[in-house]
Symmetry: C2
Subunit: 343 residues, 2 copies
């Protein structure tokens, strides 16, 4: 396998200390790849970056309406959240509306992301539960889908359950890629993660951006999901989190969603583009900087939005004395090549 | 810059999900490079992997004896610790013996690594301090060195202070490399970090392993430092930490020390070899697996020690449901090439 290009450099003093390689695809809704960097044809596990696609059946099949899910709850179904009190409360509300509770969740327990929430649990003599899992909103949505489909929810997280078969079919339709068992892994929260090329994920997100080529009902569902996330960026991630901050700063021109192991997807409604990227080594710091640079170049931001996003593509490395000792930066040639996409 | 080889792969289900590239040098005390992988000639910031070298002046100049530092305290001077109660207590003891206190530390505050210690502070209404910084033992040692040298300790963390000049000279002697200002960064704890090739750091650690070619007094100091760390692996890192566990399992044949951004150094007294490695992208999970594989191949372990270390070179990827969903593994060709060094 040939080496991907260096996309993000981490400096310290006069030297580049670390380097991240990666691949990036940008597509339009016609299925054209308008920019490709590195190997965008090999299968990549999309992990949590495609939660908006995984939530599509819940919305387009009427489950979200049947249970009266709010936009904030739909955003939570697409989230990798911090397990903050507001996230936990929204997940519990979704479960209650679907007539289930957290004992039905099949995601496993996870401590909340923030110290204050973990310590509050500890001080109360409680242990982190499934409801605190960053995927509890997605799982609550999948449980609701099972109830709405009229099938036994038990085992909803396994690949052969009707819920996962429905989710897989929706992702196949959206990507145009075959999602096959020989390219299927198990995600951190135990649902299947189906690998497909970055090219295919980028096309799917161009469709999230535009609703083109997917039929009216699906286009409406995609718009509703996208707008729910953009209206509730806190619900998609949480305090201090990159996805939340990037959407708050970029505004409605950029729906973005991170995934584990350096994956990141985005939909840019203003320019009609979809993005999928993967850092070879799995580092989030690099996927974040590269996504911020892509948003800057391709999402159609205005000048004040751009000014707010610039620091996210080029964050400082700070030390324990609050000294700036280096920086993360997108490699200059890569930044130029992404920018050239829009000319 | 040409790409380093892939040294560690992270699998999930049937696919390799992420890949880490890196470079590795193994040297003997005569200064011969017995194995080199990737670019071992370009400057690398050694970060915390060389704390044993930074502690050398404190021991060889008599400061450790003048203040009555115990072996556990000498190990703490070489540590990147968790800020657990035993670490904090030992750092306070060192400071008291040198007639200083934690307000003299110039490392900046850092929360303890473990939830229980962070929450205990929070519950007591306290904030993390300099004493909890993972480098507080090294800083306490440097403060003690200043007092022992009879110089004003203030500013001991800056490159032109007599303490850092003394430390830099010791590292130049040990590596045989020029440590120059145009290759100097500022570390997380604010002391200078001097970049040198992996080849040079490997030679320095071969000298840590053997004491060859450095004079009697220095050889005795190196032996004392190495044996202090090997006798107190908990003090070098802490509960659940890789360095601690690897030394506990490998026994006296392997002194190992990690550093930020994917650096790892080791000294193997049994085989007389020194090791320095760097993962290009800075990932600790990869530097750890590669170091464990190097210990297995080159440190002269017996069969029971090997059996205990094998899982550290090939750890599972577990998910939130405690399912094994993948693994980290050293690339097969790399493992074979390292093993061939000893034939």
């Amino acid at each position: 396998m040939s080496a991907s290009p260096v996309v993000v450099e981490v400096t310290r003093g006069p030297l580049v200390e670390s380097r991240h390689r990666g691949a990036l695809a940008i597509a339009d809704a016609k299925g054209r790849i308008v920019f490709a960097l590195g190997d965008t044809n090999s299968p990549v596990y999309p992990r949590s970056a495609v939660k908006a696609l995984q939530a599509l059946p819940l919305v387009e099949d009427g489950g979200a309406d049947a249970f009266g899910f709010t936009p904030a709850e739909i955003a939570l179904a697409c989230s990798s959240h911090n397990g903050e009190p507001a996230h936990v409360e929204a997940a519990r509300s979704m479960l209650a509306k679907a007539g289930r509770d957290e004992s039905d969740l099949e995601c496993g327990p996870q401590p909340p992301a923030r110290d204050e929430d973990r310590c509050a649990l500890r001080q109360a003599g409680r242990v982190p539960g499934r409801i605190h899992n960053n995927c509890s909103g997605k799982h609550a949505g999948m449980l609701a889908l099972a109830v709405h489909m009229g099938v036994d929810p038990k085992g909803y997280s396994t690949a052969d359950h009707p819920v996962q078969r429905r989710v897989r079919q929706a992702m196949q339709d959206m990507t145009g890629a075959a999602l096959s068992a020989d390219r299927c892994g198990i995600d951190g929260c135990s649902i299947p993660t189906w690998a497909a090329p970055l090219d295919a994920w980028a096309v799917a997100f161009a469709r999230v951006a535009t609703g083109e080529g997917v039929g009216k009902g699906r286009a409406a569902a995609l718009k509703r999901i996208r707008e729910a996330c953009l209206a509730h960026p806190f619900m998609v991630a949480g305090s201090g989190r990159f996805c939340t901050q990037l959407m708050e700063r970029a505004g409605p021109q950029a729906f973005v969603k991170t995934g584990a192991e350096g994956v990141f997807c985005a939909a840019f409604p203003e320019t009609g583009l979809g993005v999928a990227l993967k850092i070879d080594d799995g580092a989030s710091r690099a996927s974040e900087a590269l996504m911020a640079a892509t948003v800057l170049a391709c999402a159609g931001l205005n000048d004040s939005q751009k000014a707010a996003v610039v620091p996210m593509a080029n964050p400082p490395v700070m030390n324990r004395m609050e000294l700036r000792v280096g920086e993360l930066r997108v490699a200059a040639d890569i930044r130029d090549r992404i920018a050239a996409t829009m000319r």
